[in-house]
Symmetry: C2
Subunit: 174 residues, 2 copies
Amino acid sequence: MGHVPGGGREYARLLAENERYTEAFDRSALTAAPLSGLAIVACMDARLDVEEALGLRTGDAHIIRNAGGLATDDVIRSLIVSQQLLGTNEVVVIQHTGCGLHGADEDALRDSLGASVGVDAGEIRVDFGSFADLQANLLAQVAVLREHPLLLDVPVHGLIFDVATGRLHEVDRA
Amino acid sequence: MGHVPGGGREYARLLAENERYTEAFDRSALTAAPLSGLAIVACMDARLDVEEALGLRTGDAHIIRNAGGLATDDVIRSLIVSQQLLGTNEVVVIQHTGCGLHGADEDALRDSLGASVGVDAGEIRVDFGSFADLQANLLAQVAVLREHPLLLDVPVHGLIFDVATGRLHEVDRA
């Protein structure tokens, strides 16, 4: 299978944009430890600009993102590193309205994925992380992080980002 | 174990910043599908503002981040969702200088984590993702994404972000 056509132009733009970025880059003495002590766990959604929506500046916070903003094993790993090596002591979980995983059909996705990449759908063992209720899903992720035996007992907050208004709604405040 | 003291003030600031953000929020008709077709996989590091460093605007790209910018199973899951449900067709992997996982000692981290959370270190099965060579580590992640049977055969680029200059260095261009 060859590359999907059309790639490359956007990538080239990134490099040009980065050239401009370096000209204004503040060579301050930021260290790896986030200044705010915050670790943010959020969905990968393109409409959620985490730094902008939260007023975070470069150096402020760890930002961990995946499809859905789910408290997966990889997020646990990342938070352990964040807390143990780099001293963060507060977590904010952000999910959002209009998420592609909200109400997604796992079986249908498995079928279309299999057809797309040429793999028998029955051999695909991936759980894609779909969910039926946004608020319940967010609360479940917050609970996982609060109760995990390898994470510090720090405040964990749950917020829903409204992609239509840019507003964060508090669902579960530590 | 009670909450680590000091949390809360930074969280309150986020909500105030978001209030300002909503006032200027562009209620445009952005949909969940990223406009650029790009999915970015990057480290969670606080000094790497992915949108700013790449000139990405709200709605442009999926942004997936974890400790190290590693091609974990959760990143594969997220990229499947990104490609199959939301049509992205190009991947950029970004690791960076000064990463906390570069040269980290897994056994020492396991010991300090165990002592910190009150769990016997011998029972901690987490692989934290430490690595010895930044460029080799980046190339390995790019290779995983290029060769994964459940991902589309799309361009995958590898970049290193220099936290001292803000510059992205091309290591592996698709």
